[in-house]
Amino acid sequence: MQALSSPEFWIQQLINALGLGSQYALMAVGLAMVFGVMRLINFAHGTVMMASAYIGLLLLQQGMPFPLVALGAIAGAAALGVLMERIAYRPVRGAPDVVLLLNSFAVAVLLENVAILLFSPRSRPFPMPEVLTRVFHPGGNLFLPSIHLWAFGGALLALGGLGLFVTRTRLGLAMRAAAENPTAAQLLGIEIGKVTVLAFAIGSAMAGLAVLFWTAHVGTINPGMGFEPVLKAFVACVIGGFGTIPGAVLGGYLLGALEIALQGLLPAGVVGYRDALVYGILILILLVRPGGVLGYLEAERV
């Protein structure tokens, strides 16, 4: 283990935490947006990521240049999110929340099996261009994988853009209003259906962006790959305070930092239990702050 006193060690941890946290934040924000407008924990969110990765692979196999592959995968994710809302969720609006939840499981299982049929259950390599896989050595023993830079820059742009959208535009404000009080929003002429579709489109696009970084990390894709990301996104949302965009972003970065810290600080024999520890800490956080970090502040304010 590296010396805890060396600044290099901490800088390395910070780089890793920001890289991983950016991915989690992008994944969590879509889950939070959909929860906001629909009160649905969309477990099919991870399946959208999986499908988006396969769309990317197909485009890559067509010989498309990588920027177009990335755009195609993100657009594909957004389209799939919209389609999912249309087919699986909109018809059961007004039904008890548990119906929506069950439908999201159904969509997840269905899409995963479609992927198994089409592409076989085996993992496939996803060749990433060198700009994403290169590792810089900025000095000393520091490693700066370019994927961390891309993930951080991508998250900054995408989440910053989202922040501007929900605070500066009429539609973005309408989306937040509908998430907070759908009845009052409707009484002002806001169409819940419209902002719901928008939340699915934007949230799924964010997931499509995140899965590019995730895939570059892992190197391969498979039909079951969506499970872990959606679980991480869920945990991030719970940590940050469920259903709010800032909560999801904060939770994403906190979760990233937590995982990296445990990875770096735990003795070698215990590192394998990292995820168990993460979930243990999650339970502790919820015992102290049941509404999540930001949710707690919210509750105090009112």
Partner: protein, 239 residues
């Protein structure tokens, strides 16, 4: 009443599941008129507003806006016509700033110039909102939240303003302030339907009033005549 009705309810019957809330309510609202809908708890006042706004589909009967039937249309569609409800319990967006709440009030207009003008007008009516434009609305006091709710509704340039219990839970001084603002709006010619339990305040500002009891109309008269019969009101309102 001068001219045709802006809003007309014909034989409305409404229910929540098996529980009847309205048994054939008819009323009209003329242009520039202020009408009060009075009655005790559970009389069907809020239900009436919910039906007008499209939040509740009536079992029978019709809602007409300037002669066109709008019964059962989605709430957003009805709001876009200019029938704006300021709902019970204020229902402001607490996580949004005061300014964001107001901007959303003008959602139906899609017109930045009108939005600016309306914002100015709303802030003139409730100057205390001006200093708090960038505060989260959830930090406002109850009275301030009620004023924000009314200001937000005014941002839509309503053709008809439906107010549900604007005085509910407010300190007497704040009730005065709210009703002063409503009187100003009346003077500007705004058509309003006010649901109130505070009959005294409502009758001060209304032209006419309807009294509901258990989902039925029991009394309808000019407000000044009802003001002269406080006993009658007391009987129906149970005070």
């Amino acid at each position: 009443m001068d001219g045709p009705a802006v809003l007309e309810l014909r034989n409305l019957e409404a229910a929540y599941g098996a529980i009847r809330a309205l048994h054939g309510l008819s009323l009209t609202l003329g242009p520039g008129e202020v009408v009060a809908l009075l009655g005790p708890n559970g009389a069907g006042k809020t239900t009436t507003l919910r039906v007008i706004s499209g939040l509740l589909r009536p079992v029978r009967g019709q809602v007409l806006y300037r002669g066109d039937e709008i019964t059962g249309r989605p709430p957003a569609t009805i709001a876009r016509l200019g029938i704006i409800q300021c709902p019970e319990g204020r229902q402001i967006f607490k996580n949004l700033t005061v300014r964001e709440n107001l901007i959303l009030g003008g959602y139906r207009l899609r017109d930045p110039a009108r939005e600016r003008r309306n914002l100015e007008r709303a802030l003139d009516l409730f100057p205390m909102l001006k200093e708090r434009l960038h505060h989260p609305a959830g930090l406002l006091s109850g009275g301030q939240q009620q004023m924000l709710a009314i200001a937000r509704a005014l941002m839509a340039d309503p053709e008809v303003l439906l107010l549900d219990e604007p005085s509910l839970g407010l300190a007497p001084r704040v009730v005065e302030e709210v009703f002063e603002a409503l009187a100003q709006l009346k003077a500007q010619g705004l058509t309003m339907l006010i649901v109130e339990q505070n009959a005294e305040k409502a009758l001060e500002i209304a032209d006419r009033a309807y009294v509901l009891e258990a989902g039925r109309l029991v009394l309808a008269d000019a407000a000044h005549r009802l003001r002269e019969k406080p006993d009658l009101i007391r009987i129906y309102l149970g005070r």
